[in-house]
């Protein structure tokens, strides 16, 4: 089982979740985070008229746990839905996880995903 964590632009969340469902993902969760990478943040005006660069921007972090064989399809689904080609598009991180439990039934392992 793999945990796939994707960071992308918040305005893409609808496209990404549609794309994930199309790719057969059964569940996911997401939240807004503040991120910084090569895109060195966004220009903001200071309260009173000056300008400054805030060194971080809003991103959405989405997490989905899938079986190992779905990795490529899921990565592809996310990339295709969130890529703009501009700096700041985001990253996907893949981690192995050792177990999954479904709270409702208590079942564990692959079938609980």
């Amino acid at each position: 089982m793999l945990k796939i964590e994707a960071i992308f632009r918040p305005e893409r969340v609808g496209a990404v979740t549609d794309s994930l469902l199309a790719a057969g993902v059964t569940g996911f969760h997401y939240q807004n985070v503040t991120g910084q990478g090569q895109q060195k943040g966004v220009e903001v005006v200071t309260g009173r008229g000056g300008q400054t660069t805030r060194s971080a921007s809003s991103k959405t972090l989405l997490v989905t746990v899938v079986s190992d064989d779905k990795k490529d399809a899921v990565v592809e689904a996310i990339v295709s839905a969130s890529r703009t080609g501009e700096i700041g598009d985001g990253k996907i991180f893949v981690t192995e996880i050792s177990d999954t439990i479904r709270v409702r039934t208590g079942e564990a392992g692959e079938s609980a995903i």
Binding site: E11, T34, V45
Partner: protein, 414 residues
């Protein structure tokens, strides 16, 4: 000058002022969180810019003698408006200027709901100047201008002469803004990726409450005196809003099993819009009828218009346009001689009044629709302006893109 009337008009003016920030919150709560500052700023900048236009030339064009269609330049920069009240004035002349200024301010702000979340801000600022001058001032003149020349001739706006009843601005403000909203929504096009949920429901309710409060100044203030007519206008205003809010709530409860706050707040605004022309013409029972009609008609207008291709983001046409038209016609139906001080409505047997009201509606729709379209069309073509935000600005959100701000800081050092 009567100190009582002056006192009422001072505070009525303040109340109408407060409506524009109220609108800012009403609209601001409805958009997505990334566009709330932009939406709020659209209303706020209307205060800043239209006020200046108003004292420089707007008031003169609207209320200067001129002819039946437009005023003149006799009061540029308020020249010729006396600081001191004349014998027989109920209120100081400058107070009337200020009261009307607040009406001029809120009208274009109403339109902004149509093109929320995708309009170029700098173009909007120029639009404010043009639209107040070319659309708002003339229509105001038609309905409310009434001047007496030195030789005793009256020079009135043509709708005033026609006998159209519009106590507090149903045509001038609401139908006018509602139809301009259609023009704007069509020309600016649909949002790329509209959300379905308002970002902040309490703001919507707060905005609606402030609008309701301010509307007491708007409608009861349109008596331009603290008198019986103001008292009646006050009462019917609140009743129409209540009835429309309840009607909207009940319909949506019947349809979905739920009574959303946004719907109820929108219903209240629809009721307020519809009672606006009627506030000096109908009694409490008339207000219940008008409010019920407003809730019902505007609810279905919203549903119907959502099925069209037009993206009037915050339903300005359905609420202010359709609601305003219903109000104008309903004024012709429910007007009572005892309250208007002379004019009867359909229920008292005066069929003609409905026709007169319809003429006022049609004239406003035609003029405002066409001129608004022309203004926006030209602004769209001017290099460096244009109506539409860039795609990336729209995606990031106009708060950051246009204003360099975020409505709330999320994480970290807070």
């Amino acid at each position: 000058m009567d100190s009582g009337h002056t006192s009422w008009m001072l505070i009525a003016t303040a109340l109408v002022f407060f409506m524009t920030p109220g609108l800012a919150f009403f609209y601001g709560g409805l958009v997505r969180a990334k566009n709330i500052i932009n939406t709020v700023m659209m209303s706020f900048m209307s205060i800043a810019i239209v006020s200046i236009v108003w004292v420089l030339w707007g008031y003169s064009l609207a209320f200067g003698t001129g002819n039946a269609f437009i005023g003149d330049f006799s009061h540029l920069g308020l020249s010729g408006i006396s600081f001191a009240s004349a014998e027989g004035d109920d209120i100081p002349p400058l107070l009337f200027v200020a009261f009307q200024m607040m009406f001029a301010v809120i009208t274009p702000a109403l339109i902004t709901g149509a093109f929320a979340e995708r309009f170029k801000f700098s173009t909007y600022l120029i639009f404010l100047v043009l639209w107040s001058t070319l659309v708002y001032a003339p229509i105001t003149h038609w309905v409310w201008a009434s001047n007496v020349l030195a030789d005793g001739t009256e020079v009135n706006g043509w709708l005033w002469d026609l006998g159209a009843l519009d106590f507090a601005g149903g045509t001038v403000i609401h139908i006018n803004a509602g139809i301009a909203a259609v023009a704007a929504a069509l020309l600016v096009g649909k949002r790329r990726n509209p959300g379905i949920q308002p970002n902040n429901v309490p703001y919507v309710v707060l905005g609606a409450a402030i609008l309701w409060l301010g509307w007491f100044g708007f409608n009861a203030g349109s008596a331009v005196a603290a008198n019986d007519s103001a008292a009646n206008a006050f009462l019917v205003t609140s009743l129409a809003a209540s009835t429309a809010a309840l009607t909207w709530g009940v319909i949506s409860h019947l349809k979905t099993g739920k009574m959303g706050a946004v719907g109820v707040a929108t219903g209240a605004v629809a009721g307020l819009v519809a009672i606006t022309p009627a506030a000096g013409a109908v009694n409490a029972m008339g207000a219940l009828a008008i409010g019920f009609g407003a809730g019902l008609i505007c609810f279905y207008a919203v549903e119907l218009l959502h099925k069209t291709k037009m993206d009037d983001a915050l339903d300005v046409f359905a609420v202010h346009g359709i609601g305003g038209i219903w109000g104008a016609i309903a004024t012709g139906i429910f007007a009572l001689e005892a309250i208007t001080g002379g004019t009867k409505g359909l229920i008292e047997g005066n069929v003609a009044q409905v026709g007169i009201q319809a003429v006022a509606v049609i004239a406003t729709v035609a003029y405002s629709g066409i001129v608004s379209l022309i203004i926006l069309f030209i602004l769209d073509k001017i290099p460096g302006l244009g109506l539409r935000s860039s795609e990336s600005d729209e995606d990031i959100g106009l708060d950051l893109a246009e204003h360099g701000e975020q409505s709330a800081v999320q994480d970290g050092a807070n």
